[in-house]
Amino acid sequence: MDGSADIMAQDSGVWAFGPDKPLRLDSGAKLDNLEIAWRSFGTLNADRSNAVLICHALTLDQHVAGIHPVSGKEGWWTRLVGPGRPLDPADWFILCSNVIGGCNGSSGPGSVDPATGQPYGLTFPVITIGDMVRAQAMLVEAFGIKKLAAVVGGSMGGMQVLQWAADYPQRLEAAVCVASAARHSAQNIAFHEVGRQAVMADPDWRGGAYASAGVRPEKGLAVARMAAHITYLSEAALQRKFGRELQNDGLSFGFDADFQVESYLRHQGGSFVNRFDANSYLYITRAMDYFDLAAPHGGVLAQAFRGARDVKFCVLSFTSDWLYPTLESRHIVRALNAAGAQASFLEIESDKGHDAFLLDEPVMDGALRGFLDSVRSRW
């Protein structure tokens, strides 16, 4: 471990699996030369019982804490991970990896296909949340961790947490699922389709082969991000932040960004294209749309959790989250109860919408601290 000047022990790398260890995909295809980019904080204890895996959301990455090597910004969940935080590297070994299909170092559509020497583009196989989790399980095994003390994630990360509980319950002590759902709703799929169509309508997308053409479908991806960003906020949060405030004095009687909310969304779209790959956006949104944890179990969600009776679950939702509303979390909790698992659930009062799970929500911090401390007390 690189114990650097930082007060946290941390490390990072890319785990390359050999040709003897292909990743079997739900589609029936397999992925050779699997690579998983990861980052860790803290140190594994002697019996490797203090490991927590953090699963990231759609457009995030393995840089959950510390400084992002490209943007120079702080990690995306420093509320949760860091000295004095609920997941303190002094106690926990915190591991986070970039999902497969992503664009921050793990195998994805932007990786080079060893068969052709060219970037995969759309020849990259379509992946699922189950595939992401299968890859994470390989990484966890490579670290010599037999049982994770916890798997934690919000939004798409929460989907991975539920998938872990369904597929590897014996390799988990506890699971934390924040602002998430056990399946994508018609509305969720609809918004993703808008985003994908925006990307594919950009002439620079080139059927996904933009990399070899030396261009990027930035306009399409920016529009996709703008539409998605609205779904991460709430009406109240938008109103509080922008209302009908104008950028300049008076209306322009044209189509420039008159309103501050327009300017904000344009900025969000514009900065997103610098850090995210358009094809990765297609693949990961597709994986989320395909997610329906109950489907392989005859549509009975409780059946998916029947092996997870000994796993302690903490499910959290936010009142103003209309992307993954509380009802979806209650649906998960019911199924966990029906399966006889140990489920805790809390709906947190917030007007910040879906994004609340990444923001200043002291009630969430307190609940997670309590839950994770109780997990830690069992080492």
């Binding site: 409780a302 059946q303 309590g370 007390s377």
Partner: protein, 217 residues
């Protein structure tokens, strides 16, 4: 330890599966886990209470007794505890029957509106009683469905429930076992605590080896 907690601890079989409905910060659940090796679950309305329970390592679901007991499968518990809350629910009859759907036994306590202090307060002042068991004025009390011991007896008979045990509770005093059908107890018991079970056995759900989703059930 509160007297009602002591009485509940006495009634619960060691190692039982218990749900505390309205578990607050989990004091009773923790006692049951520690002293009775119970497998404890909780239901609590307030976020602060749920957070406190999480910190104690308890499995607690946020929700209220009126609406959210349906999140639990039938006969999931040996005991369902509802302490001093029945009178604050919107539909006490439904809550009581739900308690005895999810559990084989229910432990229910409530303030007795037939207690002599309550009767005296109404008779002498002609105003809604404010007593040590019911301290709030009528316009701010959470207790919207108060009942007397006799009323509760009638409801349990109506729901075909058996009172296996009944105790009168007064703060700071040891619980006193009573026969709830004796008229004098309806004057004397400030609070009552019942251990209830179904007279007619519930229809067994499918073998629990194959859990069914409640939405599909």
């Amino acid at each position: 330890v509160r007297e009602d907690f002591r009485e509940i601890l006495r009634l619960v079989r060691p190692g039982a599966r218990v749900i505390d409905v309205g578990c607050g910060e989990g004091e009773l659940l923790e006692l049951l886990v520690r002293e009775k090796q119970a497998q404890g679950r909780g239901l609590e309305l307030e976020a602060a209470g749920v957070s406190a329970c999480l910190a104690r390592g308890l499995a607690v679901v946020q929700g209220d007794a009126d609406r959210d007991l349906d999140a639990f499968p039938s006969r999931a518990f040996d005991y369902a505890i509802l302490s001093q809350t029945l009178q604050a629910t919107h539909n006490p009859r439904h809550v009581l029957s739900e308690l005895l759907r999810i559990a084989d036994r229910a432990i229910v306590s409530f303030p007795n509106f037939g207690h002599w202090r309550v009767r005296w307060s109404l008779l002498s002042r002609g105003r809604m009683p404010e007593t040590r068991a019911l301290p709030e004025p009528w316009w701010s009390t959470p207790n919207i469905h108060l009942c007397s011991l006799a009323d509760f007896n009638a409801l349990t008979a109506d729901l075909d429930l058996r009172a296996e045990h009944c105790a009168a509770l007064v703060r700071g005093q040891a619980a006193r076992t009573i026969d709830p059908t004796r008229g004098i107890e309806n004057w004397r018991a400030e609070n009552a605590l019942f251990l209830l079970s179904r007279r007619t056995p519930a229809i067994d759900p499918e073998p629990t080896d194959t859990p069914r989703d409640l939405f599909e059930a």
